[in-house]
Symmetry: C2
């Protein structure tokens, strides 16, 4: 690195007031020059075990880790030298790492990225850090990435890429690593999801109320509970209203823009355009809207489109996208809490968060602009 002289001379005092480089080398520092427990012990004139007890505030009501004055001295010194425990040593000793692995289909999918932000935020409040890995919904990658994460000795795992059959998860459960699911449910494993069935119903009721009877569904991947449940909820509501959606009008798709394009093209190739389309993902919905436009149809006037998730962009599109808002960030936060409770040995139950329909121009036309 092209260090200038200023940096070469060292930064005497960093912003938090900790004096990390002044004076002589710290006694009993680690190879990188960082203070160890021994450093603090030596400076305080006590045994390392005392320092450890004090800094971990061991001791319940009435039980003190050390005398008040000793404890204070130790804490002051630890602060002054900028002591932070070596997580490798702690991890080795306690066999807990305060690490959690998070597996997602793709982090560039803003839905998953938002969920992950919630996870990261919430786990951090427990002093945990997270590894994320993309699996691209590919079983081989899921396996390999899970191995990698377990090899890192994470305390737990959050899967955001579960296949609804849960077979892979059965294997993981056999390995003894606690985990929870987020976004997608599978088997009987604890999960935090959006109430996708309800979401699908909200979409259907909205379209039915607007008078639509000629409907199509772009349903997502067949292995993801999100698409499955949203579609099921939609179709059930149609059924209840006596509106039949033919099987040829329910097509699977990838969850991205390109997937929506391909699926919408297939629907159009199949005959006359429906008057309304429910797409189980906003990005796929954007792709579908593109195809409709290219076919000379005006979204919101000729064809209504409902998406799912309410990504930030949905409201900023030229034709605002009516969509079912799912609490993405909140799902991440809750999943993190759920895992923490599992790690504490609690039995936990799945949580289903309530979605809300957000009507915009893509179903309301000018009224929704």
């Amino acid at each position: 690195m092209e260090d200038g002289p200023t940096r070469e001379e060292g930064v005497a005092v960093v912003a938090d007031g900790t004096d990390r480089t002044s004076g002589a080398e710290l006694p009993f520092a680690d190879p990188a020059g960082r203070p160890t427990l021994r450093t603090v012990a030596e400076l305080a004139g006590v045994h390392v075990s005392t320092v450890s007890r004090v800094l971990n505030h061991v001791g319940g009501p009435g039980v003190r880790p050390a005398s008040r004055t000793t404890a204070e001295r130790i804490r002051r010194i630890a602060e002054r030298v900028g002591y932070s425990p070596n997580p490798h040593a702690t991890g080795l000793r306690t066999s807990r790492s305060r690490l959690v692995g998070v597996l997602v289909p793709r982090l560039v999918d803003i839905v998953l990225a938002t969920i992950y932000e919630g996870i990261e935020e919430a786990t951090a409040t427990y002093g945990f850090s997270t590894f994320v890995a993309n699996t691209g919904d590919d079983p081989t990658a899921q396996r390999r990435r899970t191995e990698m994460v377990l090899a890192r000795r994470v305390d737990g795992v959050i899967f955001g890429d579960a296949y609804v059959d849960g077979r892979f998860l059965d294997e993981v459960a056999g390995r003894g690593a606690p985990f929870v699911l987020v976004s997608r449910r599978a088997g009987d494993y604890p999960s935090v999801t959006c109430d996708d069935v309800l979401g699908g119903r909200l979409a259907a009721e909205h379209l039915l109320a607007l008078g639509h009877r000629d409907l199509a569904v772009i349903a997502g991947e067949p292995y993801a509970s999100t698409g499955i449940d949203r579609t099921a909820g939609f179709l059930a509501a149609c059924d209840a209203a006596g509106v039949h959606v033919p099987g040829s009008r329910v097509v699977h798709s990838r969850f991205d823009t390109e997937g929506g394009r391909a699926a919408m093209s297939r629907v159009l190739a199949d005959g006359a355009a429906p008057t309304a389309v429910f797409v189980v993902n906003d990005f796929a919905a954007i792709g579908a809207m593109g195809v409709l436009r290219d076919a000379g149809l005006v979204v919101g006037r000729d064809v209504a489109v409902v998406g799912f998730n309410d990504v930030p962009l949905a409201g900023s599109l030229p034709v605002g996208l009516t969509t079912v808002r799912s609490p993405m960030h909140e799902m991440g936060v809750r999943a993190a809490h759920l895992l923490m409770r599992r790690l504490g040995g609690e039995e936990v139950a799945s949580e289903r968060l309530v979605p809300v329909l957000v009507p915009r121009a893509s179903t309301l036309g000018d009224r929704g602009a």
Copy 2:
């Protein structure tokens, strides 16, 4: 967890053929029942140090870690019991963690998410894992998250959220953690960026060639080299062509859709609309397009808009967005390699990757549809 009986009875053989749970407990397993080096040594009838040497293929040309047959036996046993080294033990012993910290403004920004995917992918090929943390471009968060990452004893850090002044980085450099920058440059620290000056120039040349003379720039945050350099390149090219862009027509903005909306509104409030706008980020460009539309202007006919990055959505928009494509994934990959070389003790030089202009309807009108 609601384990069914099948899972309770254990999964005898997992998919990779490793027999992890059959027979009696492994000898000298760790508290979680995982095999240790000692497990393998005992099973192979050799000393742990021999196992360690074999599994780490110690030994250069001519130097063997063990006899061929012993080595093979050890490797077979390690494979059979599913041995994977405890990274805490290795980390404690070697004071290297094979961990890298990655700081980004926000992971929900697809630009950063794409860069991060490249980083993650490339570091994984070195056997490294990554921690990501959001800092929201907030100096306090940058400090706190960096502390957190260093406390985890990462071997190195990649900053995707550098302030161009580099003052915070000067402090970090004083702490002895090797790092590189990605996306944004700062000071003389090694970085992998897009050639943003060139990108700005490409945008200007495109608009000038189309005959535009009445220009505006939505310039991003003043502390980010991306916005600064893109704007500088744009203005320099205008200057060279004898076209003056008044200072009032160059406005700072956040990098997201909302930021683009706000900035575009300010430009419009300031007087007559320009005939062309260069926005240094695609999402901000989408926001700007929304404001133009709301003002009754047709993008691509009344006003030309050029964005930056070419996010996947840019081409799928109702009015395709002309934009300067930056190699986001590639930047992440290169930054990872650069850090790895730094960790190997190499002196490394910054890399600037070449952007390409992608013309679409937002500047070409119907011709670009």
